[in-house]
Amino acid sequence: MLDLFRYDAKKHTILAAGQVAPDADRCVQCGICVYNCPVGIDVRAHAWRGEPIIHEYCLTCGECVARCPRGALRFEKTDLFSKKK
């Protein structure tokens, strides 16, 4: 249960200051991410290029991250809101 809250808290942080980033080496282009994306982003194409999903419609809802059977997607912090050193 505690883990669930932690996950939720993390998710909110990421919603504000994160993005989904792929690991191209792990991706096999199966398309589960595309199939489950609620807004129809071509996550797979980003994964092929190894580029983070910077897309105006991306909700960072985490569906693609959770569903990817190869662990090819992860949340990554952006330094957009972080204080510069």
């Binding site: 994160g18 690991d23 191209a24 080496d25 792990r26 096999v28 282009q29 199966c30 398309g31 589960i32 595309v34 199939y35 797979r44 194409a45 092929w48 569903r67 059977p69 190869r70 662990g71 090819a72 992860r74 949340f75 990554e76 912090k77």
Partner: protein, 437 residues
């Protein structure tokens, strides 16, 4: 410059991208014999289990292909005439080339058992095979799964998801003994049984039984018979080297290529599952059936075809897969030294490097669903199997593939009182490499 690519898998697509990155005007022709063109072959597992639609398996749109600027021909190549730099399709058409790339992949080794010609027996090579299997996968019917490695399990789990009564025959005492250790095999087997798969150990099918030209069961070596409505198998794959042999290219188990993916003919290259490439970690020429390596090889071959000298260095074999619902990462050399009786050749999603028995010490931790096994060398980690929690699989992949000196933590890793995951996490934290959150 005329480039011709035989095969429409990921190595071929990567080769086109590489050629186009340096040559915008050369003429590229891709010839493929799969009626469905380029799709995600590893994705077939998730199509079988119903996690995605077959239409989702195609990574590229027609528009994207148009931008890549190449011609696609559906067909099968019958001959390569090296001297005239021409090839001939089965229908007779001649196509000339300046540089040729062979990326025809590997195919399932057929089941060598009496009765294997019967209806209702399937392999899983292509999308067409998956479609055929699903057509016959009726709820409540019994299916027998024969074979080993990842594909056999994908078949078992996919058909279980389709509510079939799944019986998995293992020739020996445990699952995938050439890569997994005993405890890892046990974890997978336990989970399969929990999900509802019936496992049969020391079960070798000697004959497939018939009823009205269809499979009706198998007779096992111990004399028992087991009824079934469907039989699927995955006993390994074999590189499709017939065409290369005919053209008198050097072959062993695959097409032999040097570090530039070049065959013994300087105008002909090979990559992906069909190629036998030099592996610096073992000093041998090995086969792999891994998507990421096929892509890397295809890309390097494309650059070399277009005139750039790009040496291909085989990366650390690495695969993430789901075994009995458990995410499992296999990195580097982890082999048990056992011979897998359920596999004849190499399996899909497999690398021969995994099988090599490293002369090193294994440290283990974790039980049931979270488990990590490290193969510890003198100065570096040689391999790892991470099951369940994957937080450390990315750090481990980097530590292994980049041969990072682990001397500062070696003692700690071997100290049974310390958790190896803590030791690795701490070590990773202090390394200046890109991290995950």
């Amino acid at each position: 410059m005329k480039y011709v690519i035989i095969g429409a898998g990921v190595a071929g697509i990567a080769a086109i991208e590489a050629i186009r990155s340096v040559d915008h005007s050369g003429e590229i022709t891709m010839i493929g014999d799969d009626p469905h063109g380029f799709y995600s072959r590893p994705g077939l597992a998730y199509y079988l289990s119903g996690e995605l639609h077959d239409k989702t398996l195609y990574p590229r749109t027609a528009e994207q292909y148009r931008k890549m600027n190449f011609r696609y021909l559906k067909g099968r190549v019958k001959n390569i005439f090296r001297e005239g730099r021409q090839l001939q399709l089965e229908e007779g058409q001649l196509i000339s080339f300046d540089r040729l790339l062979i990326v025809v992949g590997a195919q399932a080794i057929p089941l060598d058992v009496k009765g294997s010609h019967l209806e209702g027996i399937f392999k899983l090579d292509h999308l067409e095979d998956a479609k055929r299997i699903l057509k016959h996968a009726r709820r409540g019917r019994r299916v027998i799964v024969i074979g080993g490695g990842i594909t056999a399990l994908e078949l078992a789990e996919g058909l279980l998801a389709r509510k079939m009564d799944v019986h998995y025959l293992l020739r020996g005492n445990r699952y995938w003994n050439s890569v997994l250790d005993e405890q890892e095999s046990k974890i997978i087997e336990g989970r399969l049984q929990e999900e509802g798969v019936t496992l049969h150990y020391r079960a070798q099918a000697l004959e497939i039984l018939e009823k009205n030209k269809r499979v009706s069961g198998v007779r096992l070596a111990d004399g028992k018979t087991l009824k079934c409505d469907l039989l699927v198998y995955a006993i390994g794959v074999r590189p499709r080297i017939d065409l290369a042999k005919q053209a008198d290219l050097k072959t062993e188990r695959g097409i032999l290529v040097d570090e530039y993916l070049q065959t013994n003919d300087p105008n002909i290259f090979a990559a992906g599952d069909v190629a036998q490439t030099y592996d610096p970690s073992s000093g041998r020429f090995t086969l792999s059936s891994l998507w990421s390596q096929a892509r890397e090889q295809g890309f390097a071959a494309g650059l070399n075809m277009a005139g750039r000298r790009a040496a291909y260095v085989k990366s650390t074999p690495f695969n993430v897969t789901r075994l009995a619902g458990l995410t499992t990462t296999v990195i580097g050399t982890v082999g048990s030294g056992c011979t897998d009786e359920d596999l004849v050749g190499i399996a899909r999603g497999d690398s021969e490097t995994w099988r090599l028995l490293p002369d090193i010490i294994a440290a283990q931790e974790g039980f049931d669903v979270n488990r990590m096994r490290l193969l510890i060398g003198e100065k570096r980690l040689l391999g790892a199997v991470v099951m369940g929690d994957q937080k450390l699989s990315y750090p481990l992949e980097k530590i292994i593939s980049e041969s990072i000196d682990i001397s500062p933590i070696r003692e700690k890793l071997l100290n049974s009182k310390l958790r190896i995951s803590d030791v690795i996490a701490e070590f990773w934290k202090n390394l200046n490499l890109p991290k995950r959150i």
